[in-house]
Subunit: 294 residues, 2 copies
């Protein structure tokens, strides 16, 4: 059974490689040819095609991991996209974070061609993608979810069917709120510690096991202390995700003042940093947010 | 060796009872006589006196658990306070959250009378106080800390000497930032879930183990879902603690915009609620914060 994987970036290639390593027939495609992802997939036993048509023809399952709404719609439902070449009955699952509204739009467009669409955004970062330990939040119909499960299980550990089309995306946006706002709490705790002369090791050692504890404190705190600011997740992606949050509630900023604050701070970080690869999920974003406060 | 415990409120009585149950000689005192804390301490084998003088006379260690700065200063260094009756060399440890500046002031005043002062704020709530599992963050000189440790160990599990006078208080304020801002993240994730029609159980089930996870999500999330809004920590205390944060950085609000936002939201909660006992560390504060957004 042929599986197509479209989008062999940092996340996509790691996920496609896990499919190939599990012995599944994987055919990859990347918008920009000649990237390392293609070589990685071939080394793991997969194939690479140079057109969407060749990649998705006769595929029973198509996975995509692309980026923003425009990219996903172009590749899936745009002219010359998957919709033009995949077979009826195909299950298409997209791992990008694009928000529930776009997911439902794609679901409708594909259903009109008898194709099944699952929104399946992930968390766990590049490490989770490499280790096959991603959390995959799936929205869409249950039957195609069950059909795709054998392959999803090669890429993730915690795979959850969340409800109808868009609900995987909706839950992912909730997750991004948690990540973004918890980073504010960690940044400000470190900042207060600095102001008051507290040994910053105590924040992690003493506070992470208590009511102030969080993944962000336990995982980013030690990196902040060691000044290890290697990005774990691109700042531009976090900004995109927070933009999607507000787009999907029709711009009602006042409903989510903490999330709005995080967005404002990350924007300042993006401007001040001059780069678009600062870590938001990782510690570099945390550092950058701290700098942004100054 | 006589131990005095001044302040037999919800936290204080539970801690004093644990001392008495451990077989130590405990003499309690409460500002307002006839409260349940006195009976609880006596039932556990402790004594109760009706004056500070009688309680602290000949005590080797004096503990206080009172409230705000004014209360602690009145009982410790005010006229007719501990300073007038305790013996030279006594070790006095205060569990109230009063911020590092007030702690250092008290430390200096008591040192002038050859008395040792430790700031020793706690986290873990009334449950931790009853179970003797509090985290106790101690600032002050090391020798008196070592002298008081045998008794602190009866009340807490994670007892940490954080540095010179005030550093226990400073770390506690960092903890309160983490608690307060993480509650914003949980409130807003639930609010977005509501807006987007996400099953709120998924927030806890799927997201709490990932990068958005926190004590607040794991512990308050299930209570929010069950609509169990019993307070775990008084709103007025959280407001006091956040006030102390800003007082101790000379009102530089812009250094901590997330904390400032939490303070603003909790204030609205306090006004809207009409009561001063809403839970801040507990789920009721979370509910109240959600209401405050409306």
């Amino acid at each position: 059974m042929k599986i197509a994987y479209l989008g062999l970036g940092l996340m996509g290639q790691a996920m496609a490689v896990n499919l190939a390593k599990a012995g599944l027939e994987v055919v990859g495609w990347n918008r920009t040819p000649g990237k390392p992802g293609e070589a990685a997939l071939m080394a793991a036993g997969g194939k690479v095609e140079n057109s969407i048509e060749a990649a998705v023809k006769d595929a029973a399952v198509v996975f995509t991991c692309l980026g923003d709404i425009g990219d996903v719609e172009q590749v899936l439902t745009g002219k010359g996209g998957v919709v033009d070449f995949a077979m009826a009955g195909v299950v298409i699952a997209d791992f990008s974070t694009i928000g529930p509204e776009a997911a439902k739009r794609i679901y409708d467009a594909l259903r009109a061609k008898s194709m099944h669409f699952l929104d399946a955004p992930v968390t766990g970062g590049d490490v989770g993608a490499r280790n096959g330990t991603l959390t995959i939040m799936v929205g869409g119909d249950e039957e195609p979810f069950r059909k795709a499960l054998f392959a999803l299980e090669k890429m993730g550990k915690n795979i959850k069917h969340c409800g109808p089309s868009g609900s995987g995306q909706a839950l992912k946006l909730c997750n991004q709120i948690l990540c973004a706002v918890n980073m504010i709490s960690v940044c400000e705790a470190f900042r207060l510690a600095e102001q008051l002369g507290v040994d910053e090791n105590l924040l992690v050692d003493v506070l992470s096991g208590g009511a102030g504890g969080s993944w962000a404190l336990s995982n980013l705190g030690p990196r902040i202390i060691k000044k290890d600011f290697e990005p774990g997740f691109a700042l531009k992606h976090m900004l995109k995700d927070l933009r999607l949050v507000f787009e999907n509630i029709d711009g009602q900023d006042d409903l989510l003042p903490g999330t709005k604050l995080a967005q404002d701070l990350f924007k300042i970080v993006g401007e001040g940093d001059g780069s678009d690869s600062g870590g938001a999920d990782g510690a570099r974003g945390t550092q950058a947010m701290r700098l942004a406060y100054k």
